[in-house]
Assembly symmetry: C2
């Protein structure tokens, strides 16, 4: 999906919500366990219930890999079920030497048809470069994450800047605002504002609203740009809103609620 389409979808739906499909077979309602593919059955219901209220789904590959090749099949089925006007993210945090990253890019962009994949930059620019060779595909690079461990390296100084700032600057040499996003945690709204100044145009994928304590209004105040520029991820607060027969209905209510809050903010900001 290209940037123009993504921005248009945000305006159409008055939403910049990304629903995280961190589907743990140990947490889904027990009545689904008799299905031939319980994880897909769960995801299908969640997608049906939330697709009007979100512009993106993020598939956390770890939860599928935990089930082995069967889990990859569930991931493939889920991805194929997502409507084509919704931006799809493989939250895979890949990154390796060049010829290996070529294979990861092939995995997520050619074999599977994700729009985007999250990338871990530790090994340097050349380790993520192969993901930026594809038209209308995106690399979403870890910058400042929402976990406490972000202070171990990301927030340490290299020269006169933080490591995550160096990562952002370096990565802007290999990608642009139409194929590169950054992961910036919602738990650090002040830093989010500083990062917005550094890269005014780029989209940010923002985890940590809700369960991890970040506030939607704080994130928008510091991180929004003229095209919105944000995809706010919510996973557990939506997909596990209920553990009963009404799980999809409750997920819809949660997504609808966030959609409503987002609509107000987009209106206040004059984006819609």
């Amino acid at each position: 999906m290209n940037r123009e389409t993504l921005v248009q979808e945000i305006k159409n739906k008055a939403s910049f919500l990304c629903v995280g499909l961190d589907t743990d077979i140990k947490k889904i309602p027990t009545h689904l366990l008799g299905e031939s593919d319980p994880v897909f059955a769960f995801n299908k219901s969640i997608i049906d219930a939330t697709k009007e209220h979100c512009v993106s789904y993020k598939i956390n590959t770890a939860f599928y890999e935990a089930l082995g090749s069967k889990g990859w099949e569930s991931m493939e089925r889920t991805l194929n079920y997502i409507p084509s006007n919704i931006f799809t993210i493989a939250d895979a945090k890949r990154g390796d030497i060049g010829n290996t990253s070529d294979m990861y890019a092939r995995a997520f962009f050619e074999t599977l048809h994700f729009d985007a994949v999250t990338l871990a930059p530790y090994m340097g620019k050349d380790s993520i470069e192969p993901f930026f060779k594809y038209k209308n595909k995106w690399g979403i690079v870890l910058a400042l994450t929402s976990n406490s461990g972000s202070q171990d390296y990301e927030q340490q100084n290299i020269g006169n800047e933080k490591l995550y700032e160096r990562v952002i600057k370096n990565t802007c040499e290999i990608g642009n605002a139409s194929n590169l996003m950054f992961v910036v945690g919602a738990t650090k709204p002040q830093e989010l504002g500083a990062i917005r100044k550094l890269v005014p145009e780029h989209f940010f994928l923002v985890p940590g609203v809700g369960a991890q304590g970040g506030s939607l209004s704080d994130v928008c105040e510091h991180g929004m740009n003229k095209d919105c520029g944000l995809l706010i991820n919510a996973s557990r607060s939506i997909i596990y809103a209920s553990n009963g027969l009404d799980f999809a209905e409750k997920a819809k209510e949660e997504a609808q609620k966030m959609n409503g809050e987002m609509k107000k903010i987009l209106q206040q900001q004059g984006i819609i």
Copy 2:
């Protein structure tokens, strides 16, 4: 596999060779393409041909993911075929927030039964900690890699030390010499010597000998310890030694040659 068994296997075989199964379906001999699972057929022949000369196989997950769920099946078959006295590594470079890393650990240690998985430390200590909760399982953390991009962050100074040194020190707080190894590229033998001083006991997984230009004798001179302390990975130079009907035979010759060189070094160092 525990450390004692690994060291004993190194002594028994007079080898510290790790064969990298970076199996690309586009590069395997064409006569295998008629098999129901060509990647597994290739790996099976390579394992049969090299298992006497190596102590470890490293499965590069990217090459399997590039084939989707079928690729994961090939990976599962390959892992199950490797004899139990050989140390198995998922070269997956995973790392994420805690509850997601829990799932990756489940994927590689419980669903698949790898002995070890490579880890990317960018997100901090808490992002790799879940991998160290398993008995006789190993995390192999990226420290100083063999690619040119290692200068972008790994070799930059944080305070008065390099980022990779900080990673090593921090990671030693959550793992020990019996469950934690480090990836250190063969292309930087001087730095390898400095890292050996920092962590005298730990094993290093060393890529970059052969195709990437690192020398076996240089690596051993600077990196060996009293238990050997090295797993030297070779991938393309062994598995693609020939592209014809004799591919397994030629792979065996290459592995045997490296085994011979390693035996001499182990004898010179008084390890066997």
